[in-house]
Symmetry: C2
Subunit: 341 residues, 2 copies
DNA sequence: GTGAAAGCGCTAACAG
DNA sequence: CTGTTAGCGCTTTCAC
């Protein structure tokens, strides 16, 4: 386990110089820098991050806390964050808080506070004020992805606008009977995403002078199965069948497409379907959707963190950075079949 | 940032005693142990993992390297590993090697070797001998999930047997024309999984006296879309349409079900489909499959690591631990429709 | 059972 | 530009 001394000996300099040469902090002549680099290379020397962290107070490691990992959205954000961190020379330590209360407390008490991370990225997790302030008091920046957090830099898409855009797409095609499959209350705690998207949907309808029909709403759990079941209710109704469905997520939208098929309805001729996400399966199903870009969100969260960690860099500023989104029109949406009415 | 001294002062003992009391190493009287615990609690003291690691040489952190994160299988393994590690008081640092060559080298050179992890879990990644020996030389145990690694404890399902079981299920139902959608060569490098499953499929056929028809094979990329396209070729052939399809993964099997539907074939009346995995979508599609349990695999990998890290624990022994699997018969498989032939 | 003291391997003033 | 010298915060002999 070769240490800094051996490199210093081989290069014929002091350990301080080795440290400076290798870290790039402080001035070292090009000649010695080279000599040190060669010695380090030859011995296969790698700094001990622990010793370094202990001495500097910085760990070059950031903690990422998420509620689920095996969901496309979350794993994509993490993947984006991971690659961005790597390129900045940082490690990523993962904390999956799915387990609920007890695990969550334990993570905060014993892990995040254990001086192991320089900062934390919280993905779609509504941290409590106490959790936030404890971290901030320790001098650890936080950035949130997926919704506003009190006193914390966050990234989030404008859920109201995104939902509104999806609904407007349907309206512009000529649809007037537009159903909505939204998230159920289980997901409400995380930044009220279901409610915001519903608000956007209703706003779009009302702006067009269409009154909102509560019978055209179903709640589901953001899964394909949930969307399928919700859509069955909506599309199976012989009296009041909508000509279009706006689902709060692509997975639910895909469920709706499958439900339509099982009911003998053609998409988009008999019913149009639009979602939100641009999930990995959406292209396959020809789903029109408002894309959000989770990997990008992860990367961007990292950049914000780097700004806070290295104040030399230009910092952008605003507390809540809006994220890009984009309507992708594929084959699941079309004009309503006028002959039908 | 309260340190060990302050706890020692408050409790009226030396830092050595605090260390012993809190870590459980060495004897401390019950009375002082309590006093120390209370003091630590009161001050909100948490050990600095860096200082501790530096002093002990152990980091209580394990590195997990994976090729992808946003795939159900991988994220499930990681999730299982994460929760197991947490319960042992370990952190999990994630390295996504998807980026390929350069990133991979960098991870090995600069991250894993940086004395930051006590051990590594390699998921579906064929480490080179040099990578393995470097880690082992550093005294860092490795456990592999998903295939044998030279000189390393590994966990893997018996791909040949799993494929054979799936195929036998079809044979037992009376199918004789059974197509196979396997993985393409891109996935071959990781432990030859496509080839092994194909071997199992062929073995089952041959054991029943059925000769293998190369026209009944299609390669795909393990995705729903890939399975869909492959199945279209297989099932669209009017001359030699199989009555059943065995796909190497559930995602491809789901693609096959969707392809059958689009071709006007009913599943299972016109064609039976079986996969491998028990993917999160499989139940929804009624897919019969051979389940493997990725979260369990992650957990089990951690247990093996703990055995190596804490030799006091009873170690199991064998180098390659076989993993459980289980045939789940749902509604995508049935007897072939005899009237058809 | 408990304390004193010597490091763990590196970085950061401070001199020169 | 480079060396000397203190620590960073904990753990662990070695005595008592």
């Amino acid at each position: 386990m070769t240490g800094i001394n051996e490199v210093a000996d081989l290069a014929g300099v002091s350990t301080a110089t080795v440290s400076r040469a290798l870290s790039g902090n402080g001035h070292v002549s090009v000649a010695t820098r080279d000599r040190v680099a060669r010695a380090a290379e030859e011995l296969g020397y790698v700094v001990s991050s622990n010793a370094s962290s202990l001495a500097t107070g910085r760990t070059k490691n950031v903690g990422v806390v998420i509620p689920f990992l095996n969901k496309w959205f979350f794993s994509s954000v993490v993947q984006g964050a991971e690659s961005a961190l790597l390129s900045h020379g940082y490690d990523l330590t993962l904390y999956n808080l799915g387990g609920g209360g007890d695990e969550r407390r334990s993570v905060f008490e014993h892990f995040l506070l254990r001086k192991r991370v320089d900062a934390v990225i919280a993905i779609s997790l509504e941290l409590t004020t106490s959790e936030v302030t404890r971290l901030l008091d320790l001098g650890k920046p936080i950035v949130g992805v997926g919704g506003p957090l009190p006193g914390v830099r966050t990234l989030s898409i404008d859920d109201i606008e995104v939902a509104r855009l999806a609904t407007e797409h349907l309206l512009a095609l000529g649809h007037r009977d537009i159903a909505h499959i939204g998230g159920n209350s289980d997901f409400e705690r995380d930044f009220h995403l279901p409610m915001n998207r519903r608000v956007g949907y209703e706003a779009a309808l009302e702006a067009t002078g269409i009154s909102v029909d509560p019978n055209l709403f179903q709640a589901a759990d953001f899964s394909i199965q949930g969307g399928y079941e919700a859509a069955k209710q909506l599309l199976g109704n012989p009296r009041r069948r909508p000509t279009a469905v706006f689902a709060s997520s692509d997975e639910m939208a895909i469920g709706a497409i499958l439900a339509a098929r099982d009911l003998g309805l053609r998409v988009p001729q008999d019913v149009s379907v639009v979602g939100i996400d641009d999930h990995e399966l959406s292209e396959f199903f020809g789903l029109s959707t408002v894309a959000q870009f989770p990997a990008l969100q992860g990367r961007q969260a990292v950049e914000i963190l780097m700004d806070q960690l290295h104040p030399s860099r230009e910092s952008a500023g605003s507390l809540n950075t809006p994220l890009p989104y984009e309507l992708l029109v594929r084959s699941s949406t079309a004009r309503p079949d006028v002959s039908r009415r």
